[in-house]
């Protein structure tokens, strides 16, 4: 695998891990019916999910850009 390919794979793994944890937290907050679950969803679930999406978008933009 080329160097950009290794880098992309690493970034995809990071994005995927953040998303899985974020979505897992989201699932827990949906099952746990308490006022605190909303704070957990907004404070951790959404943040991790958006971070995962951002890392993914960054990875596809950075690897498609010409490297000097």
């Amino acid at each position: 695998m080329t160097e950009p390919g290794i880098l992309l794979a690493r970034e995809l793994r990071l994005a995927g891990t953040l998303l899985i944890v974020g979505l897992a937290v989201t699932i827990v907050t949906l099952i746990w019916k308490a006022p605190l679950s909303f704070l957990l969803f907004a404070g951790i679930g959404v943040v991790l999910t958006l971070a995962g999406v951002a890392v993914y978008l960054f990875s596809i933009v950075s690897t498609s850009a010409p490297r000097h």
Binding site: M1, G5, L8, A9, L12, R13, A15, G16, T17, L19, I20, G22, L23, A24, T26, I27, T29, L30, K33, A34, P35, L36, S37, F38, L39, F41, A42, G45, V46, T49, L50, G52, V53, Y56, L57, I60
Partner: protein, 209 residues
Amino acid sequence: MTLPGPEVLLYLALAIAVILIAIIVARPAVTATRGGKIFAFIALFILPILCAFGAASDHVERSKQTTFCLTCHIMELYGKSLTVDDPKYIPAAHFQNHRIPVDEACYTCHTDYALYGGVRAKLRGLRHIYIQYLGHPPAPDQIKLYTPYNNRECLHCHLGARSFESNAVHMAIMDSLKSNEMSCVTSGCHDTVHNIDSLSKVKFWSPVQ
């Protein structure tokens, strides 16, 4: 055959998203092809965003429920006041006669029927959660409304209703009611609201079902 509800679909979407993302985490090489890139876009962008929106919507809907508001110990007496066996208690009469949705009783009367009223209600709810867990919650009898109760919330349902408009007093003071010059609940007409101080002296109604 009945279609699955939105909550079931949300759980399904979350499960599918987690499985697809796990495939990419385990084998990032699948994204090397054109089809793999589309797969990654769906798994790492489309599905998580949809799931986050779906979950947010579920949380917002859940926060409108009466049971949600009554989760906090501080609200216990207010919940109890909904079952007072006395029609003079306005919230109790509305709750027991289903003049408001029983499942969303608190929200129905305590949201603002104005532009962004729902958003303001949610922000107040967040503040309540903050005070409950990180602040100093007041004693139940010390809880006050942020602003005097607006007649707009009453008129949202009652205005135009036959039972309301057939009352000559209502029609005579309609302008004062609409302008909040005279309050429905503090001007001496319908002034028995939750009145949690007097709950020890009243009888309670219990539904058959």
